[in-house]
């Protein structure tokens, strides 16, 4: 059995630096009537304290599953999740200690479904305060709720409104306020803006960046919008069919995309200015669709959409290789 | 069919002589089977299959000479063997009317046309009981036995077969019997007594008593004689229809409020008498069951052996109060509500119960009703604890004589059945009635009946309410029904013997125009 180079490097990194999260060979399979869905299929990455780690991928690639597993909604099928270097949190949320639950929070993709439609904003924001004993009494809680609302720049008069009465962007603000209510140190953002307008998105992202500085937060930022990723993440990982194709620091990533899939993604982005146009790899035409994770193609799962396909690709799965400092890629092109 | 005759009854109906014993079954059996004797309109026995008979001096041996040449529906001849077989079968199975034949020790075939019954003890009403003994075709039954069955060698004794088929020699024979729907019989073309040409050639018993349905069917001339349980208002309405009349005759049925003599407060005779004085008999016979007559003692007045001189209570609140004051429950009336149980059909029972309730309220007795399906009445009367203070039930004699009612109503062995709620358990009474029944001489027997009736009256175990008039709406316009003309045979079922009824299809057609 070959252990990927990456694995040893990671161990080193753990020993040396302050990682808020270390995900090691995480697998999450779903057993459905159609077959086994390998939603997450052995991925490893780490997130440094205070950084924004971006996770990009097409729909169905398993991004949310990673987030849900980290936050404890799912129990990993295999693999480890280590929080703050020493706390193994690979169990599911029921067994997870409250203290950890308080530390890790999540903001969901769809603001519509992540807020209980029959509860007022106050009820929603109160819950984490109650559960984690953050405020002592009712009065205190209401005060805190109002503070939270102010923090996300929502009018205090929203306290007693129902989610259905406010707009999508505002709902997402409430969701963020709820996530921040427990003073977490690590927040998972699962496509927090994909359902919103660009103008609202801008506001929200700016606010998130501000909070990150203010509360020393680390983010796992999931999106499929590469342009957005470019502006928020310090390191970016590309996911395809449950596997990571490429991990790189964000500037390096956009200047020098290695994996053919990354190149295809980049070339597909619609942009509005010529400078941006210049950054896109030319002459790569996107083709095909992401296949169903039930029957993942053999070999490299990307091979039949790949414009640089080689013979080996259809039979052997490439392993992760570090090409540059901190820039790893999973492609046969780079494993000579 | 040219002359269909249709009547309606409630279910279930059993056409097996060893199983059926209720109204509808009796009616069906009368039409399908022959008996040794046949009752006349006085209830007295006339020769039928039995051509002649004699009884030994000690009253223990009855010798019957059968009529010759009588054919069953399948053409085989009726012989003494069939009689013996039928009796053995009835007694072995033990259901239906079998209880009437407990006195029979054995049956003996003397020759092809002579049969002898040996009794355990002398039994006065022997001939009357024999109206319920139907003669089966032995060969046919034996050919249709299903084995194994609960009766050993005899398998099921032909019970399954006889559920839907007949094995008789009667004037009608079964043609179709879809369960719970109807029983269709056609005339026996070679019946040994010539049948009037106007008698119905098809006889149908329909299984419903729903007033609306009956009403519509009557008005559409799809029903010739309706059941007797139609409520007063329905009768009124039916009578208004052209060509329909209510045929009224004493049914032999009496309506009792059977009072539990073992349960407080009705265990107190004064309490019972107070109730008897307080009840408004006039309203009952005028308004609740109009046309019926107030009962005179425990025996229906139409029955041979009933004593016409027995005392009758009338509503008298003073006397009622006087009796009530003597009762030990007088000061605690509220703590002792009287529960009156009655079956939910017929509907008029409820009127009776509410009248009772209101009458008793006049003297301060609290009454609660318990209206339940018939099955539940049987169930609650089955034990002393569950039985109610009062049960409103009507009872018919099993054979046309006072002794039948007296025995079934008050003898100790009838407690826990629906025929006795009194829980009388009086050994003196038991001896009296047994003695009376063993008396073969009719006159002597009737004197003893009188005494027994008087004895019961003194105990006041029952509110004797009324003797019921059977009220059958019928198509006077196109049928001739002897019972409605007053030619009433006082034995259950016999008044609907098809061969005496005449149907005139042309008159029907006219009415339908």
């Amino acid at each position: 059995m070959r252990l990927p180079v990456f694995y040893f490097r990671i161990l080193e990194v753990i020993a040396l630096t302050n990682n808020i999260l270390f995900v090691d060979h995480l697998e999450k399979y779903f057993f459905t009537y159609q077959g086994i869905v390998k939603a997450v299929d052995g991925i490893s990455f780490f997130i440094k304290e205070g950084e924004t780690f971006g996770l990009v991928g097409e729909s169905g690639s398993g991004k949310s599953t990673v987030a849900y597993t980290v936050v404890g909604m799912y129990r990993p099928t295999k693999g480890k999740i280590i929080y703050k270097g020493d706390k193994d949190i690979s169990q599911d949320s029921r067994k997870r200690p409250l203290a950890i639950k308080k530390e890790i929070q999540i903001v969901y993709q769809d603001p519509g479904t992540s807020l209980n439609p029959s509860m007022t904003i106050k009820d929603i924001l109160e819950l984490p305060l109650k559960v984690h004993n953050i405020s002592k009494n009712h009065e205190d809680r209401i005060k805190k709720v109002k503070e939270l609302l102010e923090m996300v720049q929502l009018p205090v008069s929203y306290t007693y409104k129902y989610p259905s009465m406010i707009g999508g962007g505002e709902k997402q603000m409430v969701a963020i306020a709820r996530a921040l209510a427990t003073n977490p140190s690590f927040v998972l953002l699962d496509e927090p803006t994909s359902a919103l307008d660009v103008s609202v998105q801008a506001k929200l992202i700016n606010m998130l960046i501000q909070f990150q500085k203010k509360f020393k937060l680390s983010y796992l930022f999931i999106t499929h919008d590469l342009s957005l990723m470019r502006n928020v993440a310090s390191r970016v990982a590309i996911m395809y069919l449950g596997k990571l194709c490429e991990i790189a620091p964000s500037s390096e990533f956009f200047k020098n995309p290695l994996h053919p899939y990354t190149q295809m993604l980049l070339s597909s982005i619609p942009v509005i200015s010529d400078e941006e146009e210049a950054l896109k790899p030319k002459k790569i035409i996107s083709k095909g669709e992401i296949p169903s994770p039930v029957n993942i193609p053999p070999g490299c799962s990307f091979h039949f959409r790949c414009h640089k396909k080689m013979d080996i690709c259809s039979c052997e799965d490439p392993i992760i290789t570090e090409v540059n400092e901190g820039h790893t890629v999973r492609c046969h092109l780079y494993t000579k | 069919a040219e002359r269909p005759f249709r009547t309606n009854w409630s279910w279930p109906t059993y056409i097996d002589p060893a199983v059926g014993s209720d109204f509808s079954s009796s009616t069906a059996l009368v039409n399908l089977y022959d008996t040794l004797f046949y009752p006349d309109i006085k209830g007295d026995p006339q020769p039928h299959i039995a051509e002649s008979w004699e009884v030994s001096a000690d009253g223990l041996v009855w010798t019957i000479h059968l009529r010759q040449g009588i054919k069953f529906h399948d053409g085989t001849e009726l012989t003494a063997e069939d009689v013996k077989f039928s009796m053995d079968r009835l007694i072995t199975i033990g259901e239906g009317y079998a209880y009437l034949f407990k006195v029979i020790k054995s049956t003996e075939v003397l020759d092809k046309y002579t049969v002898v019954f040996h009794l355990n003890h002398p039994f006065g009403p022997f001939e009357a009981v024999m109206y319920r003994f139907y003669i089966l075709n032995k060969d046919l039954v034996m050919a249709n036995i299903e084995r194994p069955g609960p009766y050993g060698d005899m398998g099921d004794y032909g019970k399954q077969y006889l559920l839907t088929h007949d094995a008789g020699s009667g004037p009608y024979m079964v043609k179709a019997f879809p369960l719970e729907e109807y029983l269709l019989m056609t005339i026996h073309p070679n019946y040994w007594i010539p049948i009037d040409p106007n008698a119905p050639d098809e006889y149908k018993m329909i299984g419903t008593c729903e007033p609306v349905t009956v009403r519509t069917a009557m008005s559409r001339r799809e029903l010739e004689i309706a059941d007797r349980w139609q409520p007063v208002e329905a009768l009124d309405a039916l009578e208004k229809i052209n060509g329909i009349k209510i045929g009224e005759f004493d049914s032999g049925l009496s309506y009792y409020y059977m009072v539990n003599t073992k349960k407080p407060p009705t265990d107190d005779i004064h309490f019972r008498k107070a109730m008897a004085w307080a009840l408004d008999y006039k309203t009952v016979i005028n308004k609740v069951f109009p046309g019926s007559i107030q009962s005179r003692g425990p025996v229906n007045q139409s029955l041979p052996g009933a004593d016409p001189t027995i005392f009758q209570y009338q509503r008298n609140l003073d006397k009622a109060m006087a009796e009530l004051k003597q009762s030990k429950y007088y000061n605690q009336l509220d703590e002792y509500p009287v529960v009156v149980a009655f079956p939910s059909v017929p509907a008029d029972n409820e009127k009776m119960a509410l009248l009772f309730m209101s009458n008793m309220a006049d003297i301060g007795i609290k009454v609660e009703t318990l209206k339940v399906p018939w099955a539940s009445i049987i169930e609650i009367m089955a034990s002393e604890e569950t039985s109610s203070h009062v049960a409103g039930v009507s009872v018919a004699p099993h054979y046309p004589e006072a002794g039948s009612l007296l025995e079934s109503r008050y003898k100790s062995d009838s407690v826990a059945t629906w025929e006795q709620n009194e829980w009388l358990l009086d050994s003196k009474f038991d001896a009296m009635i047994e003695d009376a029944l063993k008396t073969v001489n009719r006159e002597e027997r009737f004197v003893k009946y009188s005494k027994t009736q008087q004895y019961i009256m003194d105990l006041c175990p029952t509110l004797f309410i009324f003797d019921m008039m059977a009220k059958h709406p019928y198509q006077v316009g196109y049928i001739d029904w002897p019972a409605a003309r007053g030619e009433v045979i006082p034995v259950m079922g016999y008044n609907l013997a098809g061969r005496f009824i005449k149907v005139y299809p042309d008159k029907r057609a006219e009415l339908l125009k």
Binding site: D197, A202, I209, E276, S286 | -
Partner: protein, 334 residues
């Protein structure tokens, strides 16, 4: 490119709802030349879909009312057409592609049934097509949108196809019944980046091949930039700016357009603009004057009570903002 193909003049659409009347469209003016590719951008809820549905007369009329306005298709007012004429337009002139292909395909019929019906009722009325003719045509359009294995697709239900394939089917249905104008109502938003790219490229190819005009609605400006010649910017039921695509992206004039452009994250990095404060006004009680003024950073007193008309800033660049009233040029509105 002389006569306008479609011309919307001063269109008002209101909705009668519980709380009162939603005055959604407030004097929309909109022109499409033949063979022109027009973009329409704006935030969620600004009335893009409503405008397009009004063109096809797809608004269900009890809640919707059209109190004022004209929609001229080749000079003829669609709003006043009788049923047969309207049917004619729908059958062969204009068609629409919806935002969510899943919702736009009837889930209980096979793709074949739906396309073949679209084919059967398209084209010259009166001429009945034969069965195999219909099928052949259906296969042909499916091929045109580069769907592989058309035979199988015809027998599939929408649920059996992926999102991208469904959208291709929708496009093929639109192709069947539109020879002059295709309206694409955010045909790509619900799709993935790579597929989005494929679909848009396909659409562009087809439009160019068939010489059809297209109206492409989006709130993703990048898409519009690649696809169109001319762009309308819509805000809360009015057109606030119209320009050649290149001009707009180079020099947006209206504060709203500027804000919108600034809010778009760039691939070059460097952070994201601030976005525009506030949100789309409620339509029951929209702000008087310029509907954008409560959110506008450059608001002037006059914006609060007078609705700005479109000012012509240059040839082919008009903007509805009083900041530009002194640029001269004609005033189109009223």
């Amino acid at each position: 490119m002389t006569k306008p193909l479609l011309e919307i003049k001063n269109l008002h659409v209101w909705f009668k709802v519980f709380g009162g009347i939603l005055r959604v469209l407030d004097g929309v003016n909109f022109t499409v030349m033949s063979e022109e590719k027009v973009g329409l951008v704006g935030e969620t809820g600004c009335g893009k879909t409503t405008t397009m549905k009004a063109i096809m007369r797809l608004l269900s009329m009890p809640p919707a009312i059209i109190p004022k306005g004209e929609i001229l298709f080749k000079g003829k007012d669609i709003l006043r057409m009788n049923r047969a004429e309207l049917q004619q337009i729908r059958k062969e002139k204009i068609s629409m592609i919806f935002q969510d292909p899943t919702a736009a395909l009837n889930p209980v019929f096979t793709i074949g049934t739906q396309i073949q019906d679209a084919v059967r009722f398209s084209g010259k009325s009166g001429r009945k097509m034969k069965k195999d003719e219909i099928k052949a045509r259906a296969m042909q359009v499916l091929k045109e949108v580069s769907l592989p294995d058309q035979e199988r697709v015809l027998h599939n239900y929408p649920i059996q196809l992926s999102g991208g394939m469904r959208q291709r089917v929708c496009i093929s249905m639109a192709l069947v019944s539109a020879s002059e104008l295709i309206i694409g109502d955010e045909p790509e938003t619900s799709l993935d980046v790579t597929i989005k790219d494929q679909i848009l490229r396909l659409l562009k190819e087809l439009v160019e091949k068939h010489n059809t005009s297209i109206i492409l609605i989006s709130h993703a400006l990048g898409t519009v930039k690649n696809m169109t010649d001319k762009v309308y910017v819509m805000y809360a039921g009015t057109m606030v700016e119209l320009a050649k695509t290149k001009d707009l992206f180079a020099h947006p004039l209206h504060p709203y357009s500027k804000g919108l452009l600034a809010a778009i994250p760039r691939l070059t990095g460097g952070g994201i603009g601030e976005g525009i404060d506030g949100h789309i006004p409620e339509y029951i009680n929209p702000p008087k004057g310029c509907r954008f003024h409560p959110r506008c950073k450059q608001v002037m007193p006059m914006c609060k009570d007078k609705k700005p008309p479109l000012f012509k800033v240059s040839e082919k660049h008009e903007v509805a903002c009083f900041l530009f009233q002194n640029f001269g040029g004609d005033c189109i509105d009223k």
